[in-house]
Amino acid sequence: MRPLDEKETTAVFEKIFKFTGNNLKNIVENPSHEGPDKEPGRYCFRLHKNKVYYVSDSLVKRATNVARTKLASIGTCVGRFTHGGNFHLTIECLNLLAANAKHKVWLKPTSEMSFLYANHVLKGGLGRITESIAPGDGVVVFSMSDLPLGFGVAAKSTQDCRKLDPNAIVVLHQADIGEYLRMENQHEQIIEE
């Protein structure tokens, strides 16, 4: 477990920035009320075995008592660094993204299941969409009852979506909460909460 260096921090922030925009500031400066300290601490990013965790500093302090090899997971896993040095977000960071999302998409109840099986979001399944999405922006996908289902990348801008074929892809799938069941063995870490 170690702090990210500058290059890694840039990679992580840039990825999250795509989803949250300037709300990234809220994530970084979020006060934490964990641990015995009376004053609220901060959250920080820690790298452990290729994975990046979003942890409160009081938890980091306590986690230093655990040997590096024995430490399976701490806090929330935000994503991981690939062999090539790229950063990928994982589904565990969904709550963090959903709370601060800039671009959102709501799915009709009929197309929820399709998305939860790792399919892209089609125009036909689109319930609502926020304004001013540009292609390539990160989008958080919600159900109509405002339950975050996953996230992806916008394939079309909001304006283009209006006059689109119902079979056209609007959001490219990146992660969804169905992964907790589908890839249970790949997610070794225990789901939080």
Partner: protein, 334 residues
């Protein structure tokens, strides 16, 4: 056919080697400069190649998918051997001994009748006659020492015999290597055999390796090569040892000030990099609209308050200034 000598084309053509030469060529006058000589030679060479090409097309050909195929006749010119003739191998120890004793080689059958199993078996190798596996009982003799396993002894003896033969074989190869008459197949593996006395051939050192070693040597002083006088043309060490240093995991009360600073820096850089995106077309429009509305409001409320007096005036001036050139431009364009 192969050696065709004609009066017009006095070339000797050997089709088997695709070779042609002109034994009767004479320079009418020896060329003075080298360039002329080269020119002359190329001219003569062209004629010879042409002669070869002509005779190829005279040969009977078969049609193929790629074009006509011609079978070349056997070559007539005898070309010299590339490598010298192999030297005769010196006689081995056994060959010398056999010559002295007058022992001659006898042909032996490859297969022998095995009485134990009642089948024909190979004389040597796998599944051979008198194989250790096939002997269930060894009769005790008077000379046997007590406490010695006869089966283990048999195996041990065999191993020793093989080892001895290997030693003799190497000794013979060593003798042959001294004279330089190693057979070619052994020569290839000679560096691995303990007969030549030399180890693997020295590797050629590449430029990169030399550079790396030189860099290492230059920085192997107490000061890390900082105060050493540089040789003319010496470049800085190519491979700098990379010591990655990370911020501490925990510093003081939780998150450290340096880490805070770093995240802050990255965040600010990121936000300023993307700040232009905020002013996209829609918001620009909105901002302009707001400005206009504000201006109007200010103009209307100009006389109402004393504090607002200065501001609208200023903006009016600005507006006029801006509008002036804009309108004139429009007029020009029209």
């Amino acid at each position: 056919m192969e050696m065709e000598t004609e009066t017009q084309k006095p070339f000797q053509v050997d089709m088997g080697n695709l070779l042609a030469f002109n034994p009767f060529h004479n320079f009418p006058s020896l060329p003075t400069s080298r360039d002329e000589l080269v020119k002359e030679c190329i001219q003569e060479g062209t004629k010879l190649v042409q002669a070869i090409a002509d005779s190829i097309f005279n040969l009977p050909s078969t049609e193929d998918a790629d074009g006509p195929l011609v079978k070349l006749p056997t070559p007539t010119t005898k070309l010299p051997r590339e490598k010298h003739l192999p030297k005769p191998k010196p006689p081995t120890k056994w060959e010398e001994f056999a010559k002295k004793k007058g022992i001659k080689k006898r042909k032996k059958d490859k297969v022998v009748w095995d009485e134990q199993t009642g089948t024909w078996k190979r004389r040597f190798g796998y599944d051979r006659v008198n194989d250790d596996k096939d002997i269930p009982i060894i009769e005790a003799k008077m000379t046997d020492e007590p406490g010695v396993d006869p089966f283990a002894k048999r195996q041990d003896d065999k191993k020793k015999r093989v080892e001895k033969q290997e030693k003799n074989h190497l000794q013979n190869l060593k003798q042959a290597a001294k004279i330089g008459a190693l057979p070619s197949h052994v020569q290839l593996a000679a560096t691995a055999l303990p007969i030549t006395g030399t180890q693997a051939p020295p590797k050629k050192v590449t430029k990169d390796e030399l550079g790396n070693v030189a860099g290492m040597a230059a920085t192997s002083t107490a000061s890390g090569g900082k105060f050493d006088r540089k040789l003319p043309g010496e470049k800085p060490a190519k491979k700098q040892g990379k010591h990655r240093k990370f911020l501490p995991v925990v510093e003081g009360l939780g998150i450290g000030s340096r880490e805070k600073e770093q995240t802050e820096n990255v965040l600010n850089k990121l936000i300023s990099k993307h700040s232009h995106e905020i002013l996209n077309a829609v918001t620009m429009y909105n901002v302009k609209k707001e400005k206009k509305a504000r201006n109007k409001r200010n103009q209307e409320g100009k006389s109402s308050s004393a504090t607002n007096k200065l501001k609208p005036k200023k903006q009016l001036h600005k507006k006029n200034g801006k509008k002036g050139p804009g309108s004139s431009k429009k007029g020009k364009a029209k």
